[in-house]
């Protein structure tokens, strides 16, 4: 019965070869897998497979190179923008991207993030913001919302004690070296399509040597860390994360978007 159905003429969708067959290590319901696939789809569509080098961070996506079938380097925690700088300066015609979480990009790697962007490195940074340290077991991140519980803020983030969540994306958008800055999400098919467009624009900017970083933040969920079901976590994200981290373009073609 199955064999009759699995026929070339019935093929409705084919996974890109730029994703390996390794089973994703991410929790069911997590946004990482979707974002990985969007990036690999875009690189395939841009016919850039042979010219792409990715940099994986420390965090849940530390093993991104197990799933992305492109040449990749694994960076020390927070250092991906520096590693990408080293690659891109030596191979200016290749496509270089980093894939980083909020702890990696906005806490330990803040200096590397800001300075790589300030130098206008012609790279793509994909920033997955789920407001928590997922890999190490749900500790507070720089982007954890006020009063949000985590294993190191078990009574909720006390802003007086721990400071306010860091809006790193708005912050870096002020730098002249940031060419394209946008914030997206992947919790609905419509948002997935918009995120893919944003990622494609980011890589196209790099191919066109637009002179600056293209920075795509994806606000995502962490149902395990947030201790919710996947559906609940997406609802919670819409209700709580999006008001603080509003979706949409922040800077396009080097110009800040005025609302």
């Amino acid at each position: 019965m199955l064999k009759e159905i699995i026929q070339p003429e019935n093929l409705a969708y084919k996974k890109t070869e730029l994703m390996t067959d390794t089973v994703l290590s991410y929790c069911p319901g997590c946004g990482h897998g979707t974002i990985h696939r969007l990036m690999m789809d875009v690189i395939e569509e841009l016919d850039a497979w042979e010219d792409t080098i990715g940099v994986a961070p420390v965090g849940c996506s530390v093993l991104a190179y197990e799933f992305m079938n492109v040449d990749m380097q694994q960076a020390a925690h927070g250092r991906a923008p520096a590693v990408a700088t080293g690659i891109k300066r030596c191979w200016p015609d290749k496509l270089v991207f980093t894939y980083q979480g909020d702890g990696d990009l906005a806490a330990i790697g803040t200096a590397e993030t800001i300075h790589a962007i300030n130098r206008g490195e012609n790279i793509v940074i994909v920033f997955v913001n789920n407001g928590i340290y997922g890999m190490t077991g749900g500790q507070m991140a720089p982007t954890t919302l006020p009063n949000m519980k985590s294993s190191t803020s078990p009574y909720g983030r006390d802003v007086d004690m721990m400071g306010a969540p860091l809006k790193i994306t708005e912050l870096i958008s002020q730098l002249p070296g940031a060419y394209y800055v946008t914030r997206q999400a992947v919790h609905t098919p419509a948002h997935v399509r918009k995120t893919k467009k944003a990622i494609k624009k980011a890589f196209q900017n790099q191919i066109d040597k637009k002179g600056g970083v293209s920075f795509v933040e994806v606000v995502s969920n962490c149902n395990s860390g947030w201790k919710m079901t996947p559906v609940q976590s997406n609802e919670w994200m819409v209700d709580n994360m999006f008001p603080f981290y509003p979706l949409g373009d922040i800077k396009v073609d080097g110009e800040l978007v005025t609302k």
Partner: protein
């Protein structure tokens, strides 16, 4: 014979970097080695060879830029001085783990902490025992002249790529700041893309259709595989210990006593053995050129011929531990050295030898 120039040790490293075809230098200024990046910036190597020179926002960023470029098959180097090298240890450990070739230069100053900007050899342990976290070594070369500062850049690249390991040129403010005569070599071209593909087939410069993707990583969450990787690294270090020991012996033929010293201390000790000869004391000098691998066999052999050994180092006694391990108790071994950025004089070395070894 190549062109003769009068250069500082730091400048010689920088000029050598350009002439041997380095692809990129990433650094951050710190005394007493800032002349390296200053010289490189002034020389416009991008125009001379296409070499990239970039001042990073920190030593941490600089070493990670080195990681990225080395992982992408390029000949890349960085330099710093002690506090900056401490900051780079994270990246050096990752590079040792990921087996990335690169050339590092440490123009050592006195510590601990911010310490002093004056010369020191107090980073010996950090250099030869690993330095960062995890079981690893790197090849450590100790130049004793400005000419060696120049020559060891190419030697370091050769070793780094042969063994896929970081190689450290361990020097200090004396050698970095002093000027000597240097014979410079002809300009070599940087590797072409084809040469990179041939020389570093493991590197990440874009996955070709006919090969698996290349991955640069020091991570393996499977402990059995990680242990295998550790064994692989240890075998590599054993091979290095077998094949790459370098040293120089001066006046060792009929010596009654032996000085062991590297880098600037070896130069001072050389003067000390001349002063000893004037006094009728026969003293030889064994100068380790590689600190890892350490010339333990040669020192052990010398222990059969002399009555005592003095380790002369500008620190509180670090290399002396490796000498003790090599000598295996055959003869007395003592340490002499000034600290805090004070350079011992040849006379002080002679006095220490007389008091600690000859009189002792």
């Amino acid at each position: 014979m190549g062109e003769l120039k009068l250069m500082k040790g730091n400048e010689a490293v920088a000029e050598a970097a350009i002439r041997v075809g380095t692809d990129a230098y990433f650094g951050y200024p710190i005394t007493p080695q800032s002349e390296i990046i200053e010289y490189l910036m002034a020389e416009k190597p991008h125009e001379r060879t296409g070499m990239v020179v970039l001042q990073a926002e920190s030593e941490v960023a600089a070493i990670n830029m080195v990681y990225g470029a080395a992982g992408a098959g390029k000949k890349v180097m960085t330099s710093s001085s002690s506090p900056g090298i401490s900051l780079k240890q994270e990246g050096i450990s990752y590079m040792a783990g990921a087996e990335l070739p690169c050339v590092l230069v440490n123009v050592v100053r006195g510590g601990p902490g911010l310490g002093t900007i004056q010369p020191s050899q107090a980073d010996y342990f950090q250099s030869v025992k690993g330095g960062g976290h995890g079981d690893y070594k790197m090849i450590v070369l100790a130049p004793a002249s400005v000419q060696e500062m120049y020559d060891f850049v190419e030697t370091s690249y050769d070793l780094a790529f042969q063994y896929r390991t970081p190689v450290l040129i361990l020097t200090d403010g004396v050698i970095g700041q002093m000027m000597e005569k240097v014979e410079v070599s002809e300009q070599k071209p940087r590797w072409t893309d084809e040469e990179i593909a041939k020389n570093t087939p493991w590197a990440t410069f874009g996955k070709k259709k006919d090969r698996e993707r290349n991955i640069i990583t020091s991570l393996d969450l499977d402990s059995a595989r990680m242990e295998q990787h550790n064994h692989h690294l240890m075998r590599k270090y054993e091979e290095i210990k077998e094949k790459e020991v370098r040293f120089e012996k001066i006046n060792c033929e009929d010596a009654d006593y032996l000085l062991v010293a590297y880098g600037s201390s070896a130069r001072i000790s050389q003067k000390a053995i001349d002063l000893c000869a004037e006094k009728g004391i026969k003293v030889g000098l064994l100068r380790p050129i590689t600190l890892f691998p350490f010339p333990e066999k040669e020192i052990n052999e010398m222990a059969d011929k002399v009555k005592g050994i003095l380790s002369v180092e500008m620190n509180a006694g670090q290399m002396v531990e490796d000498i003790l391990l090599a000598v295996k108790g055959k003869v007395p071994v003592e340490h002499f050295g000034r600290m805090g950025g004070i350079i011992h004089s040849p006379q002080e070395v002679v006095e220490a030898l007389e008091q600690k070894i000859i009189g002792g």
